[in-house]
């Protein structure tokens, strides 16, 4: 699903690489936590997976494609096969819940009939049935993140990438989101989640990948958050 071969990424005008010779593989259907302090290279790792950056050296394979060699015009098609969720939800404040999810389908040219069918389905799945016509501003943080997850999942992607999805949420809402991600993972979707949330990582007991100053320092099946940071 994701394979890094000796990947390094050095940003222009920076001495230390943001990611230093990282090699790892994430299999189909896995649930993986990506942990590390700020500046450890987590964001760079995710940006490389999304092909927002290209590696300086090494190869990044996502969904069977070598992203370093993927031409620009093929990138949108690649991104349709994965879902992304962020700490700040990234919803459109002037569209309703249902319109926010539908927007993701409209802009990739899905026919209106198909959109009308799958949007209520996915909103039910994330537990927002009955709230289709609410505006994002009227929802709690946890509910907003559910909308974002619905949008990411509506295309049934093989891979879901989440960048600190619980970072803005209280513990109770965080648990709800984690249960939802776990359920999505059980449908066969690979989940890669960057997080700072120690309680969640310790509780879930999934594979943990830890980065420190750009280096891969730990790759542990059924791991915990680790040392105090």
């Amino acid at each position: 699903m994701i394979r890094f071969d000796n990947v390094s990424k050095t940003y222009p005008k920076q001495n230390r690489p943001a990611l230093d010779n990282v090699s790892l593989e994430i299999e189909k259907g896995e649930f993986v936590f990506l942990v590390g302090s700020s500046g450890s290279g987590k964001s760079t790792f995710l940006r490389l997976c999304l092909r927002e950056e290209r590696p300086s050296t090494g190869e990044v394979h996502v969904l069977g494609k070598d992203l370093g060699k993927l031409s620009n015009w093929k990138v949108p098609h690649m991104r349709r096969q994965l879902g992304t969720v962020f700490q700040d939800f990234r919803l459109l404040p002037n569209k309703t819940v249902a319109q926010n999810v539908a927007f993701a389908l409209e802009v990739i040219g899905k026919p209106k009939s198909a959109i009308g069918k799958v949007v209520p389905e996915v909103l039910d799945l994330v537990g927002l049935g009955g709230k289709e016509d609410r505006m994002p501003g009227e929802l709690s943080g946890g509910e907003q993140q559910r909308v974002a997850i619905a949008r990411a999942f509506v295309n049934r992607p093989m891979l879901l990438i989440a960048d600190e999805p619980t970072g803005n949420l209280d513990p109770q809402n965080s648990v709800g989101i984690m249960k939802l991600l776990d359920r999505i993972n059980r449908t066969g979707t690979t989940v890669l989640m960057a997080t700072h949330d120690q309680a969640i990582v310790d509780q879930m007991r999934k594979r943990v990948i830890e980065l420190d100053k750009g280096l891969l320092v730990r790759d542990q099946a059924r791991g915990v958050y680790g040392y105090q940071h």
Partner: protein, 303 residues
């Protein structure tokens, strides 16, 4: 791509940026109107050239009695019939250049001159003797005036060789100058219009960065992400082109109804020429705006 989605995006974008949109529309309108005007002036000059050059002649004037006193080349007095006949013989030999040549004697010339200057106080003083006789030479190619000039200037009895084209060329020079001026202003206005379009697209891309960010995230094609911006710029340019066409048509009706009545010796180009320019303005305006928007987006809307 669903048309309704794109159209609503364009509407929202244009309204959000109303002042900038107006600035773009007006500057595009002015630059396109000047471009059209400059094209039409060129058409006008060409049509006038075709019309007048058919009619212009080269005149070989002969010395009159009076010229003996004030023109050195006429110091032997009025031209003799023999000299006039010699010139004719020579003209007939130049049939590669000369189409026809007709003789105008003093009496005829005097009559023409009186007709064209009925109020001239000299009429009572001057007689036919004061007006030179001439060969009126019509050339196959009106630009070959030099051949006649070099062949006949300074011949015995010849006072001067004059090309009527020179008079017209002053007028054409003026019109060409106007055309150049319109063109220069058009280039400057076009530059302003381009900068405005670039800035409008930039502002528009910035104010919609949330939408475009999500679009990129969920894998909308570049075409889909960029299309609303390009369509917006092209639509503003279309409005500008429509305004420019209105200005040109207004100018045309002014010329047709007002100027044509007062300036009758010029044959003005018709409505069809104006209508022929309009599609060109629309295509150029929209194409230019679309391309400008496209290259702006390459900078401000990274994949």
């Amino acid at each position: 791509m669903r048309a309704q989605f794109v159209l609503s995006e364009i509407g929202v974008g244009l309204r959000r940026n109303l002042t900038m949109t107006i600035a773009v529309v007006v500057s595009v309108a002015l630059s396109l109107a000047l471009a059209g005007a400059s094209l039409l002036v060129r058409d006008q000059v060409n049509s006038m050239k075709g019309y007048w050059y058919d009619k212009v002649e080269v005149s070989i004037y002969f010395c009159t009695k009076a010229d003996a006193r004030n023109s050195p080349q006429c110091d032997k007095g009025a031209a003799t019939d023999q000299q006039i006949a010699d010139i004719k013989t020579q003209l007939d030999k130049m049939d590669s250049v000369v189409q026809t040549s007709t003789f105008e004697n003093s009496t005829e010339a005097y009559k023409h001159w009186k007709e064209m200057n009925p109020d001239n106080p000299l009429i009572s003083v001057l007689g036919p003797d004061a007006i030179p006789q001439s060969w009126r030479v019509k050339l196959k190619d009106p630009t070959k005036y030099d051949v006649i000039q070099s062949a006949f200037a300074g011949k015995p009895g010849v006072k001067s060789v004059e090309d009527q084209r020179k008079i017209l060329e002053n007028l054409f020079g003026l019109l060409n100058g106007l055309q150049t001026a319109a063109f220069v202003i058009m280039v400057l206005m076009l530059f302003v219009a381009l900068l405005l379009i670039v800035n409008t697209v930039r502002v528009s891309a910035f104010s919609r960065r949330r939408e475009t960010g999500i679009m990129r995230l969920v894998g909308a094609s570049n075409f889909y992400v960029q299309m609303p911006f390009i369509a917006e710029a092209a639509f503003s340019a279309l409005l500008g082109a429509v305004m420019a066409s209105g200005l040109l048509l207004g100018g045309h009706f002014f010329v047709q109804n007002w100027l044509a009545e007062r300036v009758q010796f010029i044959h003005f180009i018709g409505l069809s020429s104006v209508l022929a320019v309009i599609p060109l303005l629309v295509v150029v305006g929209m194409g230019m705006a679309g391309i400008a928007a496209f290259f702006t987006l390459r900078k401000y809307l990274k994949v």
